[in-house]
């Protein structure tokens, strides 16, 4: 049984001007023990997707339709209080994109740890603290950090503390949203190592790792999914995908990695002209067609669907005519 399985998931931002179709029909299967790398340029909906995958949907975002099955439970039909009680923090945890600001400034780390653990488990304060100390040691974090305020910690330290708090209750699935984008290279390495350690120590089972940086995916992911304009365009085994991209969009993403300047690489797409589409009013046919170097007549008329061929899913008329 896969840890996560979704069918036709749609989640739109509701604005006075209409729906922004940030997540528009996602079918995704994540097998147990896999580290899935989810990539795409900024604004493609990847952040929205991972939040939707755990049903963390808050206005203006709205869950429109689809089913999400996490660890055998259909979470897409659960209400918020149910999710908070039995799913979030326990089955699935999020390390948010803004991990550097994720800690409340007027609260010590221990206070947050106590609130989180004691909400989910029936334990005493002392037990929580000793549990947290043990976990911090296990992850090579100074135990002393527990008694600090967030502003006393460095950026990399905050990031690692957030990861430690998110995994305190051994969630089966950990979702990490762009953990490395704001950090320098050596801190990035520490964070990536910590994530790998978590899985090796069996604290977590599977992981979804969101990034716009393909180079990072090479180091950590064993399965890669590429997203463009609210849809999955290609999905497959990491090495195979990166060495033989099939979708023209994946192709340009992978090629961008070769660009030496990190500034350009960070912005994702160097070689691709144009801007990501306006999702209030997405292009007809294939959403990538206005920027696609190989666009054909059919790409402007008909929307391609994800189809499978030798363990690779692609949505492109060029690949599946």
């Amino acid at each position: 049984m896969p840890i996560l399985e979704t069918k036709g998931v749609k989640a739109y931002y509701s604005t006075p001007l209409g729906y922004i179709r940030a997540v528009d029909g996602i079918d995704l299967t994540l097998e147990k023990g896999v580290i899935l790398g989810l990539a795409g340029e900024s604004g493609c909906g990847k952040s929205t997707l991972v939040n939707t995958l755990m049903m963390n949907v808050r206005p203006p975002l709205r869950f429109i339709e689809g089913t999400i099955i996490l660890d055998g439970k259909e979470i897409s039909s659960m209400d918020r209080s149910m999710l908070k009680k039995n799913v979030w923090g326990v089955l699935v945890s999020l390390v948010p994109q803004s991990a550097l600001n994720a800690l409340m400034p007027t609260q010590r780390i221990t206070d947050l740890v106590k609130d989180v653990v004691m909400h989910h488990m029936n334990v005493s304060e002392q037990e929580v603290v000793s549990m947290a100390k043990k976990r911090f040691e296990e992850l090579n974090l100074e135990v002393d950090t527990l008694y600090r305020y967030p502003h006393e910690l460095s950026g990399g330290m905050k990031q690692r503390v957030v990861i430690a708090i998110s995994t305190l209750l051994n969630p089966k699935l950990l979702i990490v949203d762009e953990p490395t984008s704001a950090l320098d290279v050596s801190t990035q390495k520490q964070v990536l190592k910590m994530l790998v350690d978590l899985k090796r120590a069996k604290i977590i089972e599977s992981m979804i790792f969101v990034t716009h940086d393909i180079a990072v995916l090479r180091q950590i992911a064993n399965w890669i999914t590429i997203m463009y304009a609210g849809k999955i365009v290609e999905s497959g085994l990491a090495d195979d995908m990166l060495n033989h991209p099939k979708h023209p969009y994946t192709f340009s993403l992978v090629n961008a990695v070769v660009t030496p300047e990190p500034e350009v690489r960070n912005r994702g797409l160097a070689s691709l002209p144009g801007e990501p589409p306006n999702l209030l009013d997405p292009p007809k046919g294939c959403r990538f067609n206005p920027r696609c170097p190989n666009a054909m007549e059919i790409c402007r008329a008909k929307e391609p669907h994800l189809e499978e061929k030798s363990n690779r899913l692609v949505a492109c008329h060029l690949v599946f005519p």
């Binding site: 006075p16 900024s42 999702l279």
Partner: protein, 280 residues
């Protein structure tokens, strides 16, 4: 692109309502003297008449027409509001932009000055200045309000400036050898246009309320009329205790309608331009 934005903006109900109220009252003040050509300062009938077909909003204690006063009052209140807002905006944007762009010592000294003015209650300073001026025409009153209301604009513009400055296009302009002033005027300020417009709207509603307050304590314009001046007369001649409601209700209601429609407008724009709805 511009027509698209305007079309989008019209879909926001709050904006439509507030714009409707505001423009309606503005048109009344601009066209009113043509449709209803009565002199607000001359005696046209018997004193203290309630509304009737001859005097749609009645007359005051000396037999002057209240509707005519209202039309003239809205016009002058709007005028003072606009001029005062422009003055505050001018000072605030210049100080904020220079402070945010230059940084360093310039920044700290300008912000120290801003903080000093920010802590002092502007209404007290206004009263102090006004009390020493014998004659106060609308321009004077606008200046008094304008020079005491800018600090929060300066702070906000500075913050915006600092975040914009970090962006790539400013860097590119610098590399291209553009001078600082040129960069501020040509690159940075246009990027803040929507924000500056919102500040203008807020300053204007604040200035109109401040004008009325100054007038009520006898420190408003000494010649001519405004919404505050009508209220001042109404208060001075005991309109409330003598039950002359048509004298003090309409000017206050117009003032509240103008000021709150402006505030509602800025709230609606804020919700539209708010970055939290974008991205994803």
């Amino acid at each position: 692109m511009i027509p698209r934005i305007i079309k989008d903006l019209f879909k926001i109900k709050k904006l439509d309502i507030s714009l409707g109220i505001f423009l309606g009252l503005m048109l009344l003040s601009l066209l009113g003297s043509i449709i209803y050509p009565v002199d607000p300062t001359s005696v046209v009938g018997p004193p203290e008449r309630p509304p009737s077909s001859a005097y749609p909003l009645g007359t005051d204690n000396r037999g002057r027409d209240v509707l005519a006063q209202l039309i003239g009052g809205i016009k002058n209140s709007l005028y003072i509001g606009v001029i005062a807002a422009l003055i505050s905006l001018g000072i605030g944007v210049i100080i904020g932009a220079i402070s945010g762009y230059k940084g360093g010592l310039t920044d700290s000294s300008l912000m120290l000055m801003t903080d000093v003015v920010l802590v002092l209650p502007s209404i007290l300073i206004m009263m102090l200045i006004a009390a020493y001026l014998k004659e106060r025409n609308p321009i004077f009153v606008s200046i008094i309000i304008g020079v005491t209301s800018w600090p929060w604009v300066a702070r906000a513009v500075r913050a915006q400036m600092m975040s914009l400055k970090a962006r790539e296009f400013v860097y590119m302009s610098r590399i291209a050898g553009l001078r600082d002033i040129k960069i501020i005027i040509e690159d940075l300020l246009p990027n803040m246009a929507s924000y500056i417009f919102m500040a203008f709207v807020l300053l204007m509603s604040g200035a109109m309320i401040a004008e009325a307050g100054l007038s009520m304590i006898g420190l408003g314009v000494t010649k001519g009329i405004s919404l505050g001046i009508i209220l001042y007369w109404a208060q001075l001649f005991e309109s409330v205790r003598r039950g002359l409601w048509w004298w003090f209700v309409p000017p206050g209601a117009c003032l509240v309608a103008l000021a709150s429609s402006l505030l509602l407008m800025s709230t609606a724009l804020d919700e539209y331009f708010s970055p939290r709805l974008k991205g994803g």
